[in-house]
């Protein structure tokens, strides 16, 4: 007689959490590898059982965290999913349509023109199923591979000019705008609609870095690089 324990796991939340954690690590790592900020502000931390570089500048960290906090609700969105969990196995199915198409980390030069864009294209597989025990460790392994790829992306990219800054763009579906406004009010972290000049890059080169497919997440990372960076 198995007793059925009903656990209302919101898969959207799980996926959003995993993704936001990863994006935070990735942004820090990009800033480190592309030398947007001096190396001295970074320290070694551990994520997914490997060393990663994270900044210890409080304002920078706060900015990145706030950014991703606002993105998280958009990733979560997809309606409540109920999961029936029995004592011995769990199976969950959820149809998700998340609002976020891609999250882009843009590196801008002194004139505020983009030189590089690290594009994280995020989709969720059509049928989310969390039925495997080793799911999360598998996802962790895939995310580790992403981290490794970002660490060596130097080899395929040109050097950036000095004095670069960065920003984060989020490409969303139409319906997300209303949500964004709500979130902004709650979190007190204003987002603005991006200007064309922030988004558009003249004559970009596309360099794919890594792709991953898992039960809960599909993600692709590529870099759009401006052909002539120092001009």
């Amino acid at each position: 007689m198995t007793t059925l324990t009903r656990q209302d796991l919101n898969f959207g939340q799980v996926v959003a959490d995993v993704l936001c954690e990863f994006l935070e690590v990735a942004v820090h790592l990009i800033l480190y590898v592309r030398e947007v900020y001096p190396v001295g502000i970074f320290q070694k931390r551990k994520k997914y059982n490997v060393p990663v570089q994270m900044s210890c500048h409080p304002e920078l960290n706060q900015y990145i965290q706030d950014t991703l906090h606002c993105v998280k609700p958009l990733l979560e969105k997809g309606g409540g999913g109920g999961v029936w969990v029995t004592r011995f196995w769990s199976r969950g199915f959820l149809f998700l349509q998340n609002d976020v198409e891609k999250v882009v980390v843009v590196i801008l030069d002194k004139e505020h023109r983009p030189v590089e864009k690290f594009v994280f294209e995020i989709t969720q597989p059509p049928l989310l199923s969390i039925s495997s025990d080793s799911l999360l460790s598998h996802v962790e392994q895939l995310l580790r591979a992403f981290i490794l790829k970002i660490s060596v992306c130097d080899a395929v990219l040109d050097h950036n000019p000095p004095g670069c800054t960065f920003t984060v763009l989020v490409h969303t579906r139409e319906a997300a705008t209303r949500n964004m406004e709500k979130i902004q009010v709650i979190k007190d972290f204003p987002w603005i609609l991006a200007d064309e000049q922030d988004v558009h890059m003249h004559d970009p080169r596309l360099i794919p870095l890594k792709t991953m497919t898992s039960d809960i997440l599909k993600m692709q990372l590529y870099v759009e690089e401006r052909a002539h960076k120092s001009s």
Binding site: Y32, V33, V39, G40, Q43, K44, R45, K46, N49, V50, P51, V52, Q53, C56, Q141, R144, A145, I147, L148, K149, S151, V152, C153, D154, A155, V156
Partner: protein, 463 residues
Amino acid sequence: MADQLYLENIDEFVTDQNKIVTYKWLSYTLGVHVNQAKQMLYDYVERKRKENSGAQLHVTYLVSGSLIQNGHSCHKVAVVREDKLEAVKSKLAVTASIHVYSIQKAMLKDSGPLFNTDYDILKSNLQNCSKFSAIQCAAAVPRAAAESSSSEKCEQSSLQVSSETPANNELTTNGHSPPTSKQIFQQPKGIMGMFASKAASKTQDANKETKTETKEVTNVSSTGNKPPGKGNVMSNFFGKAAMNKLKVNLDSEQAVKEEKIVEQPPVSVTEPKLAAPTGLKKSSKKAEPVKMQQKEKKRGKRAELSDDETKETENMKKKRRRIKLPESDSSEDEVIPDSPGDYEAESPSPPPPPSPPPEPVPKTEPEPPSFKSSSGEKRKRKRVLKSKTFVDDEGCIVTEKVYESESCTDSEEELKMKTSVHRPSTMIVKKEPKEERKVPKKGTAALGKANRQVSITGFFQRK
């Protein structure tokens, strides 16, 4: 011909796939001995450099040798970038070995990606991680599954005992930064000690860990203020509570390790120990990733086990604390602290003694003696001050404090511990199924134990 194939493979990995090719990774991927992998990498570098094909290659080397530092001679093992190679070599008094560690297209800013590269492939080859290794120990044989499970059980119980006292000490001392920094310096010793006492194949990892540490120093020396910062980093990263737990884990695991491992070759132990002094000064964070790797790889279950163990001990302590509270209230308690006896004192009372007590007692009194005889466990007799709760003639529940000599059993205490922890509404007395008495008035309706001379006030005190 075979050489050509290998070279093509390496070329594909490095140039086309933009991978970091370490000798270890290559040996697992191609299924060759590590020395052969090192040779292959060296060949590849030489050829590529001769061809001068324009593809930029960055190479890291592993250098080891003896070093005179502060008048002491120590063995240094370091992974260095090519541009720092000569400088490091010149510092060594005797250079024992130099070989290619990795080849990659990108210039690495730190050693993190090297670790990352090896992590997954090592994890997937955990069972035969020394298959291609040059460090072998004939006595290091994997244990049979049955043996390992029974030994883990013994270690669990010993860990529970040993991990409590260190945790207690740390809680009292760990108030502010100086103690935590001491902890940090102790911790590398713990980690290093663990590495030193591990099996032969694991010394490779220990070497790598010291290597990566020294690499960090040799490569990134320009960043400046490292040593003071790193100590704080460690504590910042983990926070104090986690540090305590970590320290407890380390200590207990170290104790276990040193118990377990008997037949280690002394030679392999000295090498990491010699490297340890240099490693100690470096950031202990480095130790963390490798330590975590160690934990995962070598003791897969153990990490979770020890976490569970510390949790268990904390729960045990909490349980004990809860039970002790009622005791302290009864200040006239004369029980000599026999450990089972402590719990027994104020917690839901055991059955009263067979000798009829002076005051009127409920009807179910006769049950306990028969019950006791059936359980057949260890009994002790002591005089205990107890609150007796019973229903008098008028149907009122009365509680009196009385000295009684009683016998108690270990299992009864256990049951009491368990039942005392539960919330009153969910309490079920398994041993005495007959007492389903209603307990009115005081709102403890779910108790159902009143006729067993239970101290009802015990519940209120525990809150």
